[in-house]
């Protein structure tokens, strides 16, 4: 099994499928504390990514897949999610470089770069009740797994599970960034929709890696 361009392509397709299946759930989460468009936006963006990959053919490197993803999300998603996920995949693309296959260390670097890009754009910190509350534990778990000598599937699984736990951890938080911050204390008791889409996307990375195994 190798984290090559076919894996990255599969990752994006499985992300699109997961976001489409969960469109209503994400929109409902967003309606509770935001403006009810996250599911719609993410489905529209990732469907466009799949269309672009199908129209252009699968690129030669994971980095090139991430770049196509970044540019498409930036031009199709809008809202806050477009620039945030767009920047994440753009930074991931840069970190992946022209390598045809990502090894464990490169994989962790890619995930960390994605997280750092979201932080740079959105200026959120852990505890602000944003997608960073899923991304940060995911990157930490991936780094821990990698230093313990795990392979790509185990690293991605650790990341996805940590993102899921991070998502659950957003429930009691009071939002300090984005539209949910206007609710103040009333934002507590709800899951963050951006953390929910992050968990879906990272789980899709695991499924893609297992399929490539």
């Amino acid at each position: 099994m190798a984290l090559d361009a076919a894996w990255a392509d599969k990752w994006m397709r499985l992300s699109a499928a997961a976001l489409s299946e969960n469109r209503q759930r994400l929109t409902t989460l967003d309606r509770e504390i935001g403006d009810a468009d996250h599911g719609e936006n993410m489905e529209r963006g990732f469907s466009a990514v799949v269309e672009k990959l199908e129209a252009d053919g699968v690129p030669e490197t994971p980095g090139a897949v991430f770049k196509t993803t970044a540019m498409t999300l930036m031009s199709k998603v809008g809202g806050a999610a477009g620039p945030l996920y767009g920047t994440a995949f753009l930074r991931a693309s840069t970190a992946a470089g022209t390598a045809p296959v990502l090894g464990p260390a490169e994989l962790v670097a890619v995930l960390a770069a994605a997280r750092d890009g979201i932080v740079a754009r959105g200026k959120a910190e852990p505890g602000d009740k944003t997608m960073i509350d899923a991304w940060t534990p995911a990157v930490d778990a991936a780094a821990t797994a990698e230093s313990a000598g795990s392979g790509p599937v185990e690293i991605l699984t650790a990341a996805a599970n940590a993102a899921e736990a991070g998502l659950a951890g957003t429930e009691p938080l009071v939002a300090r960034k984005g539209r949910a911050s206007y609710l103040g204390e009333r934002s507590a008791g709800h899951l963050d929709p951006g953390a929910a889409s992050t968990a879906l996307i990272l789980h899709a990375a695991v499924s893609a890696a297992e399929a490539a195994a």
């Binding site: 403006d35 468009d37 930036m74 031009s75 620039p83 539209r179 206007y182 609710l183």
Partner: protein, 333 residues
């Protein structure tokens, strides 16, 4: 959900098509990516004024494209900011060589997407400045929130900055006037009933029969707290108090009073609010020199209203009165 639509996904495009047909003498419509341009762009020797944001706030922003206001407007999907690939061509086509001022409401998505577009426009050699409108006193501006939102004050800013651009002020001067409007305008809104975003299909929030949401933004998203339903005068008092104390309105101040409908409240009720708000200003010793009442920045069919007070100076008043010819605001022509 009962709406006069064909398909939730084609609401923006079909609405834009109709808007373009109805106002073809003033505007031209570009679809995919979506943006609205003045019929006569670029206007030689004039700074371009470009704004945009989610759809569902009509007539903002497309309704304000034309002489004396915006050069271009960029509509996103309903309640979702537009993307940089829409905003960039609107900037490029609005630039006559005199530069472009972007008017951005302080919402996270709007700020991020316009920021990206401004960076791309700068790479193309266009002189771009940005003013971020944040007139909503319902939201505390602190390190722990996204900051005060841009709401109804945006309409007043677009008119006055547009007047400055139309008389030939340079980019620095237009931006300075826009910042001056932003520094002197405050708003606060209330919702009596929610709206339904077409693609969501369900109301964005729920309110009991006897409660109202004080301090809503233009999507119905809350700002302060839910309170018991009461009469119009009492609601107006609750809207005006934070506006006036935040703006620091004093005796002798000259102001523009703007009562805006959110889309589902009749004009008669807006005038009832205006009546009380004007009386409060009079009691403070402020002079209401200009006014605006109507549905100018809406939240689909949400029931509710906002009050906006702008402290005027001579130049702002002169620019407010200067000719404007747009689908939604027109005088002096």
């Amino acid at each position: 959900m009962k709406k006069l639509i064909n398909n939730p996904r084609s609401v923006v495009a079909e609405s834009l098509e109709g808007f373009g047909l109805a106002h073809h003498e003033l505007v031209q419509i570009h679809l995919d990516p979506d943006y609205v341009l003045r019929r006569d762009v670029p206007v030689e020797g004039r700074v371009g004024l470009v704004s945009g944001g989610g759809s569902g706030h009509e007539p903002l922003h497309g309704g304000y494209v034309g002489r004396g206001m915006l050069t271009a407007a960029v509509p996103g999907p309903v309640f979702t900011s537009p993307t940089p690939d829409q905003i960039l061509p609107a900037i490029v086509k609005s630039d006559s060589g005199s530069g472009v001022l972007l008017v951005v409401k302080n919402y996270t998505g709007d700020v991020l997407n316009f920021e990206t577009a401004a960076e791309l426009a700068a790479v193309e050699g266009i002189d771009v400045r940005t003013v971020v409108v944040n007139d909503d006193v319902a939201v505390e501006d602190s390190l722990y929130t996204a900051g005060r939102r841009g709401v109804a004050g945006t309409v007043l800013l677009e008119r006055i900055a547009g007047g400055a651009a139309d008389r030939g002020d340079d980019l620095g001067k237009v931006a300075e006037i826009a910042e001056r409007v932003n520094a002197n305008v405050r708003s606060m809104g209330v919702a009596l009933a929610p709206c339904t975003v077409p693609h969501a299909g369900e109301p964005s929030f729920t309110l009991a029969e006897d409660e109202i949401e004080m301090g809503v933004g233009i999507h119905g998203e809350p700002g302060r707290h839910r309170v018991a339903m009461t009469n119009a005068d009492s609601i107006t008092d609750q809207l005006m108090e934070p506006v006036l104390s935040d703006l620091g309105v004093a005796s002798g101040d000259r102001v523009l009073l703007f009562v805006n409908g959110m889309g589902g409240t009749p004009l008669s009720e807006l005038y009832i609010v205006y009546r009380r708000a004007a009386k409060i200003l009079e009691e403070r010793g402020a002079r209401v020199e200009r006014s605006l009442v109507g549905n100018y920045i809406t939240a689909l069919e949400m029931e509710g209203a906002s009050v906006t007070v702008l402290r005027l100076d001579d130049e702002m008043t002169e620019l407010w009165d200067s000719p404007v010819n747009t689908p939604a605001l027109r005088w002096g022509v």
